[in-house]
């Protein structure tokens, strides 16, 4: 059967030429499908990879709740220390503390942290800054992989006077940016105006933790400063066993108002929800593109099948005559399958120009990345396979055309 394919190509080609209209349509359809599916699947996989990055956080164990004091008579630092203590005693709670920002939430503080006291010639890293007491790391589910955690003696209280602590813990990404391969423990970092900046010693390194802004370059660079501030608005971050989390969050407003009623308690938010919100636009893109790819493949497959059926019906006489002249059922099938494969190959050839054209347009206009060849090749193979499958059933049907047709007039 395969030896017959080269000799079949001639007649197949001339048959296609007589049918330029519908053949061109399928070629265009295949070309567009290749361009769309290659680029779309590439974007989808990039977005999924982004969403699946390790956060470095026990996302299902953490929630946060805002506490807002409007009564100036309340000492906010005393109150939140009491709040956190009381919450840590609740069964199911692993740790809790007041903090200035929550990872994955989309909002927070970032500062420039540098490796020298002078700003001239210093290496500056823009960094997410986490300020809280000695429970900060445990409340965020972090352990140091080098050095030590912060302790009670390190903590500085900001009641009117703002002064940097003597020690800090950093994430590995920040350490590498400022100090390269050198051991970060014992190095010093600085922030603020050069004339008043005091050295802050790095005492611990956290292997990996994502910060607030998941789409930003600085997401892995974070520093933990043992500072407790006197603001009127606090975020309490609570880490609890996954099974107990929901009920603890539900009761938290009551618990906190019970300790001090002259304040407003916001809606508790779980870190899981924050993560979902942060990646919302990527999920939207991924979902819509997946639907488009799926429906597109389906429609193209149907299109190819439809045109194949049409072709078979148009050439009943030709097929019947060939069978009468001795062609086997297998020959007929291979004829149509070869024709379909040829069309697919031409479509793919044309489509590859379109594919890279589309990709370079996307890159220029929307700064997407350069399409990786794997996706194009995989899609090409997929298209050939699908077009063969779609052409198979009409080809099979063609074999049932009786050779007796040849003897009928006209």
């Amino acid at each position: 059967m395969f030896t017959m394919i080269p000799t079949q190509i001639g007649p197949i080609f001339s048959a296609m030429m007589r049918n330029k209209g519908s053949v061109s349509l399928i070629i265009i359809q295949i070309a567009l499908t290749l361009a769309i599916v290659s680029n779309a699947t590439f974007i989808i996989s990039e977005r999924i990879a982004m969403m699946q990055r390790d956060t470095g956080l026990p996302v299902e164990e953490i929630f946060s709740v805002n506490s807002f004091f409007f009564d100036e008579n309340i000492d906010s630092i005393d109150q939140i220390t009491l709040d956190a203590q009381r919450i840590r005693e609740i069964p199911g709670v692993i740790s809790a503390t007041a903090i200035n920002q929550v990872p994955l939430s989309g909002s927070g503080d970032s500062w420039g942290i540098r490796d020298k006291r002078e700003t001239q010639g210093a290496k500056v890293a823009y960094t997410g800054v986490y300020r809280g007491d000695e429970h900060t790391l445990s409340a965020l589910g972090q352990k140091v992989s080098q050095g030590r955690d912060l302790n009670t003696d390190d903590v500085i209280f900001w009641r009117g006077n703002v002064q940097m602590p003597k020690v800090a813990v950093v994430t590995k990404a920040l350490a590498e940016e400022l100090f390269g391969d050198k051991n970060a423990i014992g190095q010093y970092v600085y922030t603020g105006p050069a004339d008043t900046a005091e050295p802050i010693e790095i005492v611990g390194v956290v292997e990996q933790m994502q910060g607030s802004w998941v789409h930003s370059d600085i997401v892995e660079k974070n520093i933990f400063l043992p500072i407790v501030e006197e603001w009127n608005s606090f975020t309490l971050v609570v880490r609890a066993e996954q099974s107990a989390l929901d009920s603890i969050a539900l009761d938290i407003e009551e618990t906190l108002l019970g300790l001090e009623k002259n304040r407003v308690i916001g809606e508790p938010r779980t870190m899981e929800n924050m993560k979902k919100s942060s990646y919302q636009r990527d999920r939207l893109m991924t979902n819509m593109l997946m639907i488009i790819v799926f429906v597109l493949i389906f429609i193209t497959a149907l299109g190819i099948a439809g045109v194949s059926i049409f072709n078979v019906n148009r050439r009943r006489k030709q097929i019947g005559t060939r069978r009468a002249l001795g062609a086997s059922k297998g020959n007929i099938v291979s004829y149509f399958m070869t024709e379909s494969a040829l069309i697919a190959i031409v479509g793919i050839g044309l489509g590859s120009i379109l594919t890279f054209g589309l990709n370079s347009f996307l890159m220029k206009q929307f700064s997407t990345s350069s399409l990786s060849l794997d996706y194009v090749i995989f899609t090409m193979v997929g298209i050939v396979v699908i077009s063969q499958i779609s052409a198979f059933w009409p080809a099979k049907k063609a074999t049932h055309i009786s050779p007796a047709i040849a003897t009928r007039s006209a």
Binding site: Q29, G112, G266, M288, V307, T368
Partner: protein, 438 residues
Amino acid sequence: MFIYYLQMAMKSLLKTKVTSALMIIAIACGIGISMTALTLNHMTDNNPIAHKNDQLFSLQLMTIGREDTYWFEDGRYPYQITYQDATNIVRDNPDMKLAPMYKSGFAVRNEAQTSKPFLNSARLTSRHFFSLFDMPFLYGSTWSKKADKDGANVVVISDEMNTKIFGGGDNTNKQIYLDNTLFTIVGITKTWKPAPKFYDVNNGPFQKVEQFFVPLSLSPIMEIGSWGNNNGWKDESINNHQDKLQSEIMWLQFWAQLDTKEEKEAFEQYLTGYISEQKKLGRFNRDDAGAALSNVQQWLDLNNVVGDDSSVLVGVSFMFLAVCLVNTIGLLLAKFLRSAPEVGVRRALGASKGQVFIQHLIEVGLLGFIGGLLGLVMANLGLYMLRNEFNGFNVVATMDLTMLFAAPVIAILATTLAGLYPAWRVCTTLPSVHLKTQ
């Protein structure tokens, strides 16, 4: 004659149920997906104050005093300005309609302190805010010039808050607690929730809109912090609110109403003069220091409110629609050519090429109409699922009238375009070919 064609079209579609169904589904899928993406794009690309687009301008100042650009792309000005620049400009131009502003929030309680306090965002701004953005007052009015200059515990609230706190009615001169301070209500405005919140896009274009407005002049007096973004480039020591007010931290938005070209040019001249004066004080320490005024649409574009993802989705969706249409052309071609014998008979009986062409186009148009309606249903289903699955999509994932009409119109136009080639092919076939006995 049109009705006749329509009846023939209907009969023809029903004759080939499977093919017609396939075509309708293909068109519906294409329209469904394109309209979903287009609606998201169209609703996001909204200018809530288009009628005043060329009179309202957002001010940006390049105050960053060293040659690096902090974390902005080259050439791009920061989105916010400093408190000192905002207040200086207002003080120098007392007769202009200017609205410097920032977002904050308070715990709100009724005067008797019997209600459960609730947190709500608020905007600190000038008395001109409401006339700038065409917010009509249901009761009362904006605060006085004196309140703007010296500060006063006055507040303007939206009707929604009016209903929430008092149950509605004229409550001007009544008092409420914002945090621990009693404020007098001087005005109640019709509730306005512009989407996007163009005047302050910093925390996201579709954030909740503030319903309480107090004078900016209260900021130094009550030391009201910002709930928005604060961007600093200079290594300064900021220990308290007063330090922040005098610093180079950029945390305010600034809008001006400039009704004529002359007014705009005059203001631009003033700004150039202001910057040279400030340079003498050591500020604006760079060669390309300057000011920029953008109208509302320019401001929305600058802030990339629509977003790249949205545009990519629209593009890919319409390419998908194109494939659906190419598919349809193929199916139409197959279908029309199969019915060529019947066309041959009609032509032999006197139908002109034009009439055959029109008849087939009407059939194609009918196909597009049905496909478009089905596509509209699919798009609305898609948007419904988006609203449920994602936060904050309620406004953006809902079709307005334009979109509702666009769906069938695009469907009919696109399908008719697709049908041109098949209709032309069938009307040019020679009748005689098909009249021979087969």
